[in-house]
Symmetry: C2
Subunit: 116 residues, 2 copies
Amino acid sequence: MITICEVSMKYHISKDALRFYEKEKLIGPIRKNKSGIREYQDSDLERIEFVLCMRSAGLSIAVLRKYLELYDKGDNTKEMRLNLLLNEKKKLKEKIKCMNDAFKKLEYKIKLYQES
Amino acid sequence: MITICEVSMKYHISKDALRFYEKEKLIGPIRKNKSGIREYQDSDLERIEFVLCMRSAGLSIAVLRKYLELYDKGDNTKEMRLNLLLNEKKKLKEKIKCMNDAFKKLEYKIKLYQES
DNA sequence: TCTTGACTTAGAGTATAGTCTAAGTAGTAT
DNA sequence: ATACTACTTAGACTATACTCTAAGTCAAGA
């Protein structure tokens, strides 16, 4: 049972973003106390970690919602989920390759500056 | 002397984006013929390649404009340009590391699916 | 009791990076 | 001459992912 403020600090993400992710069904619905205040459980935190990790990899809100929707539908969506993940993995691999290439070019450009 | 259509196909980028980059001062101003049609020179293409490469690395339009602005101002902006590039390189390195971590987690997740 | 501060909501606003539309022009094909 | 196609412009619109605002509730401290 940890508050939105604590979750926000723990993961360096805004409270607004946490509520936004909940509205977009990436997490939650988070349990609320009698005053309507969110109380995050350990299971919520795991899901938040997963979402943040995948977001940092560039997976879109829409793709994550799709995945988590399937997940919540149960076991017979496993193959669809796997395919979705494989597809995202492929895209991510491309992207990383692309960024590595750009990184090398940037390094080279910097080297030229430092030589002159 | 190559047309916007050819440049667009060569680099797999829309004609709108090419005009947008020009408006944002990332490229050009591109020479135009007496009818007002753009005619891209080799030097334009080099700049386009640089811009696309850096965009694929995640450098923002604003950062690129800043860099190219300094570049067009001449030699005494060299140190500022170098610092700008070093800063972007640092950010890029972080981002790539972050994406690699996420990639590994994605792979692990996929492995779990494939084992079950 | 009153104020303070942190929370709540719905919905408006922002930043980034294009993308699309409308209206017009120029050169070519019939 | 007329139609067609590709180009031009300014400016409106879109998608994504938040971020902010306004109005209100609740619990605790002075």
